[in-house]
């Protein structure tokens, strides 16, 4: 563990990413305390530029709603959607990939054809269709993002499992009479965990981007203040009020960057040989 932390620290970018993520996490936890009123409340004049009134440091939107409050409340939604949808897609991708890789043969064929079916549809277009079919809400967005993002997980797991399958310790487990299920869960999965963690941190970033893009297009939950929503609502007034779209845009950029940097760091820390070779 200490070795992991030393390597992770060695990657400057990863530390920066961690700091940004910590800030976003704190914002999402403390938003209800910092901004006690709803982010939908019209608290000031519409189109207030940032810095003009200290009560609304980042300005107000077209209706006079506080952008800073929207950002703080939106942080929670972005993280929620990012994490939950990633967990859901791991729950789909890991069992499918593991089963395909371990059993091979027709099981592999069937599962991989299904995976390919999901992979050939452009994922964002697919997500739009899914959200439009179910009514837009946080749940439907999470489901849609999970459904479009699990195939890479399945692919990765299948490859990992296939390479592990012929190792001696697996053969030993087989000879000792353990069932396929036990072997996968007890012997194989623990050994695939590092690449999955790295992949997952990147997936969180993608999920946050997808959520923002859906909200930007007006397919988000209309009762939830999210970063993508603020940008979408501010898009038409970009010429008069750049700040409405700018600040949430920066928030998305930094958060997504943070997850990517952390992913890199994790990759270095969890695959030390790879990192050394690269370094």
């Amino acid at each position: 563990m200490s070795n992991f932390w030393t390597t992770f620290k060695g990657n400057k970018g990863a530390v920066v990413g961690l700091v940004i993520l910590a800030i976003v996490l704190l914002a999402s936890i403390f938003a209800p305390m910092l901004y006690t009123t709803s982010p939908w409340d019209m608290v000031n004049m519409p189109f207030m530029a940032p810095g003009v009134d200290s009560s609304v440091p980042l300005g107000t939107d077209t209706l006079g709603r506080d952008i800073a409050s929207g950002l703080a409340h939106g942080a929670y939604i972005s993280l929620l959607v990012g994490f939950v949808s990633t967990i859901v897609s791991l729950c789909i991708g890991i069992p499918l990939g593991a089963a395909a890789g371990y059993f091979g043969g027709w099981v592999d064929d069937v599962l991989m054809r299904i995976t390919e079916f999901f992979q050939v549809i452009p994922s964002f277009a697919f997500a739009i269709v899914l959200v439009a079919i179910f009514e837009p809400s946080i749940t439907s967005m999470i489901v849609a993002i999970a459904v479009v993002s699990w195939p890479p997980v399945a692919r990765l797991l299948r490859g990992e499992v296939m390479s592990l399958k012929h190792r001696e310790f697996i053969e030993a487990a087989e000879l000792s009479g353990q069932s396929g299920f036990t072997i996968i869960t007890r012997q194989i999965l623990p050994n695939t965990i590092s690449p999955v963690i790295v992949l997952a941190s990147m997936m969180v970033a993608t999920a946050i981007l997808t959520e923002s893009a859906l909200s930007f297009m007006g397919l988000g939950d209309p009762n939830v203040m999210s970063w993508g929503y603020i940008i979408g609502a501010g898009r038409t007034v970009l010429q008069q009020a750049w700040w409405i779209s700018f600040f949430p845009g920066v928030a998305i950029l930094l958060t997504v960057l943070a997850f990517n940097l952390i992913g890199e760091g994790l990759n270095d820390a969890l695959n030390p040989r790879l990192a050394k070779r690269r370094g």
Binding site: M42, P46, G218, P222, N223
Partner: protein, 522 residues
């Protein structure tokens, strides 16, 4: 910042209107030129005897004409009818048609076409027309240029039902004996109007050319009119700034963009041209279910809403807060009590009084763009402030139609046209005979009051305007007390145009009915 823009806008608008009036007095129109404007969204058809949504009427109004046109006070003006008489008892209308009018295919326009349009064509294609023809006994053509309409009972609103958008005159020789809806001529519209369809490049533009045989001497002034199809609001604004188009008809850019565009040099604005439609926005309140079945709850909704603020912030002050069911610009409006000012305390009291349990309401926004979505968000906050929790539902046009027509909503945004007379555009929203499952318009809220039914019926057929006024005044009082729907604002869709464009709006129907007299100053 806001107020300076507003002042600048007002100053420029004033300057423009002075320029426009003095210009009209001194300068004579010049012929020639091309007018570029925007149509949003792209019409599905230009045959406005069948397709009657806004974009179709905007373009089709330059191709088809009605018997009459209306000025800004909704007084009838000659169009295809040169003059008309109404008998003392209000039972006989005699119309004298213009002479020497031809359709764009060269065939003459006669009283036969009028009779065919009124008695056959529109009866089949438009349910609204069938309602107008209810009190009509017969339409006859004693000679080629005379049409006589006889009534079963007096029906004052009839004289305001003959505009191009309600009753466009269609050629009998093309449609008689055919399946109207599938007639191939629908794609190549044949009318008597100042322009004819030259080219329609789907997804891109619709081009009309001047009708060389137009019956009004010396008109139209323009050579061509091109309606550009630009699907994105921000791009439409840019197209106007770069003068790819020189006219933005009302509603074609986001409200937030209007002050910015209007403040530019050489840009004129007008709010005229919507007097006939008189669009009024409101929220359907589903009167069928608790707690909305209680009139005190509905009154509380009215008191809870800060409609002044909505008008100022969402519509940049264009329009007017509605007092009740009839728009203040159409005949028989009366400023009666009760009216509802912003008073959240009163709303809370009313909710307290009826023992409202805090049941959450669903709110269906109108899927017509940013402004409407923001509007729903404001209403949600207003209602939340008095203790009514609201959940906004996501929807598209099909979903909105489905939910309102199946009465599957609590509150739903809408706006409807009043069509020049309360008997035509207002009554339908409140009388019990118009409660019909499956129709997203008319009495969707399910309000039913025999007294109101009786008064609207009386007002429509009363022989004199005084009697009609008395009935409408009374019905407004009752409705404003009962709050069957939550009236929001009388909408105004300002038209933005380059100041070189003259005579853009000359009727109560706006650009759709005026381009024959439009010209461009060189």
């Amino acid at each position: 910042m806001l107020s300076t823009t507003a002042m600048r806008r007002a100053a420029i608008a004033a300057a423009c209107s002075i320029a426009a009036t003095s210009g009209m007095a001194q300068e004579t129109p010049v012929k020639g030129g091309r007018l570029d404007l925007v149509v949003q969204p792209e019409p599905t058809s230009l045959m406005i005897g069948i397709t009657t949504n806004g974009p179709s009427l905007l373009v089709g109004g330059s191709i088809y004409e009605g018997l009459l046109r209306y000025d800004e006070n909704l007084e009838p003006m000659p169009s295809l009818a040169k003059s008309w008489e109404i008998s003392e008892d209000g039972l006989t209308y005699t119309f004298h048609l213009q002479e020497g009018v031809t359709f764009s295919d060269g065939e003459p326009f006669t009283s036969k076409d009028v009779v065919f349009t009124m008695k056959d064509f529109l009866m089949e294609t438009k349910s609204k027309w069938r309602a107008i023809m209810e009190p009509v006994a017969d339409v006859t053509a004693p000679d080629d240029t005379t049409v006589v309409v006889t009534m079963k009972e007096p029906f004052g609103p009839f004289i305001r039902s003959l505009s191009y958008n309600v009753a466009p005159m269609v050629p009998a020789h093309v449609y008689e004996g055919t399946e109207y809806a599938t007639n191939p001529a629908n794609d190549t519209p044949i009318g008597t109007g100042p322009y004819v369809l030259a080219e329609w490049k789907r997804g891109s533009y619709i081009e009309l050319d001047a009708n060389p045989n137009y019956w009004r001497e010396g008109l139209p002034y323009l050579d061509d009119v091109v309606y550009h199809v630009v699907p994105d609001a921000a791009s439409r604004a840019t197209a106007f700034e770069t003068r790819v188009v020189s006219v933005l008809p009302g509603g074609s850019v986001e409200n937030f963009d209007i002050p910015r565009l209007a403040a530019e040099e050489g840009v004129c604005t007008t709010e005229k041209g919507w007097e006939y439609n008189a669009p009024l926005s409101w929220m359907w309140i589903n009167n069928r279910t608790a707690p909305m079945d209680n009139k005190k709850f509905r009154q509380a909704i009215m008191y809870a809403m800060n409609r002044e603020m909505m008008l100022k912030v969402l519509w940049n002050g264009y329009g007017k807060v509605a007092t009740g069911p009839i728009t203040s610009t159409i005949p028989f409006y009366d400023a009666v009590e009760p009216t509802y000012e912003y008073n959240p305390e009163k709303a809370k009291e009313l909710l307290e009084e009826i023992g409202y349990d805090g049941k959450e309401l669903r709110l269906l926004p109108l899927p017509y763009g940013e402004t409407w979505q923001r509007w729903a968000e404001v209403v949600k906050q207003n209602l939340k402030a008095v203790g009514i929790p609201v959940e906004i539902e996501s929807t598209d046009v099909a979903g909105w139609n489905q939910k309102t027509s199946q009465w599957d909503y609590d509150l739903a945004f809408t706006y409807l046209y009043e069509n020049g007379d309360p008997a035509i555009g207002v009554a339908r929203n409140y009388i019990s005979s118009q409660i019909a499952l499956g129709n997203p318009f008319n009495n969707v809220e399910g309000y039913s009051n025999p007294k109101v039914d009786e008064l609207f019926a009386k007002a429509a057929t009363a022989p004199s305007d005084e009697e009609r006024q008395a009935a409408y005044t009374e019905v407004q009082k009752i409705l404003q007390e009962d709050v069957p729907v939550a009236w929001l604002t009388e909408l105004s869709f300002p038209t933005l145009y380059d100041c070189s464009v003259q005579g853009l709006v000359s009727t109560a129907n706006g650009i759709g009915n005026s381009l024959g007299e439009t010209w461009i100053k060189k």
